[in-house]
Amino acid sequence: MVLSAPPRSSPARQRTKSAAPQPRRRIKSASRMDAFAPYMYIAPFFALFAVFGLFPTVFTFYVALFDWNPIGGQTFIGFENFVTLYGDERFWNAMRNTFSIWILSTVPQLLLALFLAQLLNNARLKFANLFRMTMLVPYITSVVATTIVFASLFGRDYGLINSFLNLFGIESIDFAANTFASHIMVSTMVLWRWFGYNTLIYLAALQAIPKDVYEAAAIDGAGGFKQFIFVTIPSLRPVIIFTVIVSTIGGLQIFTEPLLLSSPGLTGGAGRQFQTLSLFMYEQGFGDFKFGYGSAVGVTLFGLIVVFSVINYLLSRRITSDE
């Protein structure tokens, strides 16, 4: 179904007809298989995406309208799941946590990446490849392994971070128990995994800025800092938008860290202090087997991601066009 091409405009068709089409067609039809070849080459993607991407996404909206239990059957209840959800304090709690963790991880991460990329963007830098490679090591480490290591580092009793704080006379912090501290802990894990990746993305963009732009700015008397504000940042605009959108999509879906930290439970701590929306969705769907209610969370998250991507895009466009 996806393969059926949209109707072609008639002028294009007439053109081929009037320009003596017969002989050319003959030659081409010698390999009729070739006419279908392009469709064969793209078909696997569209087939797989239709079944395992598009259909589940659309179906989420449908399931959300039901009281749907995998064993007990399903009853259509309209928008009741959404009404219940938006009155559910657990949902708003997960929403607050998600945004808190998202901002705490994204903002410092992208600033750090921008700073490091600026440092790396120097042809005379020694060991440049070593620096770039080690920064990508966290990216190949799984979120599961990352969470376990950081859970140990942030541990209440024997954690290295608390031991370090104790050296300065600061009392140990129970990171997992305190709401804000637990958000710092989760955000640190996200930051650690992704800062190097974003650094490399910014570095590539920095290298693409033509040198003569800087030369012109220098001739006009712009120093290093002014060059950074008036040349570097505007040139990086598309990449910054890209990284912010990707971080938003990722940040709203944070799941593994809070799940493992609250293991064996699914609540994100005894007081749900670090339960994210994705974990709440999982808890409802696969902990309590409320497929409909869980799907309503999924639909809401989906809407949030769309809205934030659009806002990010518009906002960054306005900010930079003002300059």
């Binding site: 996806v2 070739d34 070849a37 392009p38 469709y39 080459y41 793209i42 696997p44 993607f45 569209f46 797989l48 995406f49 395992f52 991407g53 598009l54 259909f55 589940p56 996404t57 399931v63 490091l116 440092l119 120097n122 042809a123 005379r124 830098l125 020694k126 490849n129 070593l130 620096f131 490679m133 080690t134 920064m135 990508l136 480490t141 799984s142 599961v144 376990i148 290591v149 140990s152 024997y158 290295l160 031991s163 650690w192 190097g196 490399l200 910014y202 590539a204 800087y214 220098a218 001739i219 290093g224 060059q227 879906q253 493992l260 293991s263 969705m281 999982y282 497929f291 799907s295 999924g298």
Partner: protein, 295 residues
């Protein structure tokens, strides 16, 4: 890369102002200080993973804790292998990540080739559809995806992990970019005149030209699949079908306070990727940076 032009710069630059500083200026000591700090930040958690998985729990939980590797590595590793079917998990992860990587390389180069170099009706609108699908966060549709797998009777099977991961919109986009710059139309026409079919052009000319870009795509797909957690957690049930990430989680659940076992498992699960990274890390760095150009 810009060393040549920069060495000529002092001759032409206006008095006093090193205008090419952004590219090849003097590197200050604090640049190295910050970069070394970032290396430490990247590497230390992995080092800590190693420290904990080579010490007994007493050494790690004293105050102050040890920060040196101990001699307990094999004892802990053995415990990992006896507590969960770790070898089987490693094999499963290799099968899943490897299949996804190979499938993505083939399907993406094929579709990328069609979109970059072949003329067919609906090509441009279909490509826009591909781009739009890149933005769809499919992770949020896990509940219906689980239902589909249930209907296919694929719950608790490796194909439930492999098949949904085989197609990649990003991969198509990526390969299309590479193919449209690398493969020129003259070469295509010459091949056509010599009687090559479209498939032969793809297989004999296009694919060899973009082999290295496809390899980078495969690497990124492999790493992503190896590290995937949410979907395996939902769809896999029996320990013999665990991926390594699920195996680590199983270790964690049984011994929550004692990190040694889970850390040892994490370390053992990360080693294959670290070894891979030593050989292809440069390529991956180049790949990430290259992706940024086009993203």
């Amino acid at each position: 890369m810009t060393t040549h032009s920069s060495s000529a710069a002092p001759v032409t630059r206006p008095a006093g102002r090193p205008f090419k500083r952004a590219f090849a200026g003097r590197v200050r000591w604090w640049t190295y200080a910050f970069l070394i700090a970032s290396v430490f930040m990247s590497a230390f958690p992995l080092y800590w993973m190693f420290v904990v998985s080579t010490n007994d729990s007493a050494a790690v939980s004293q105050t102050p804790p040890t920060i040196l590797p101990g001699g307990n590595f094999f004892a802990l590793a053995e415990q990992v292998f006896t507590t969960v079917p770790f070898v089987q998990s490693l094999a499963n992860s290799f099968i899943v990540a490897g299949s996804i990587a190979i499938a993505q390389m083939i399907l993406s180069t094929l579709a990328g080739f069609a979109f970059a170099k072949l003329q067919f009706r609906g090509r441009d609108p279909l490509f826009i559809v591909v781009l739009i699908t890149m933005m769809v966060p499919t992770q949020l549709a896990v509940i219906p995806l689980y239902m589909i797998m249930s209907n296919l009777d694929w719950i608790d099977s490796l194909q439930a992990l492999i098949v949904p991961g085989m197609a990649s919109a990003f991969g198509i986009f990526w390969m299309r970019q590479h193919l449209s710059t690398v493969l020129n139309n003259e070469l295509m026409q010459a091949a056509r005149i010599d009687g090559c079919s479209t498939w032969q052009i793809y297989w004999r000319i296009a694919f060899p030209l973009v082999r290295s870009a496809a390899f980078v795509l495969g690497l990124l797909a492999f790493v992503t699949a190896w590290n995937d957690f949410l979907w395996p957690l939902i769809v896999i049930q029996s320990p013999e079908n665990y991926t390594v990430q699920l195996a680590i989680k199983a270790l964690q659940r049984q011994y929550f306070v004692d990190y040694g076992l889970a850390m040892s498992g994490s370390f053992l699960a990360t080693i294959p990727l670290l070894i891979l990274f030593i050989f292809v890390g440069r390529k991956m760095v180049a790949g990430v940076m290259d992706g940024a150009f086009k993203g």
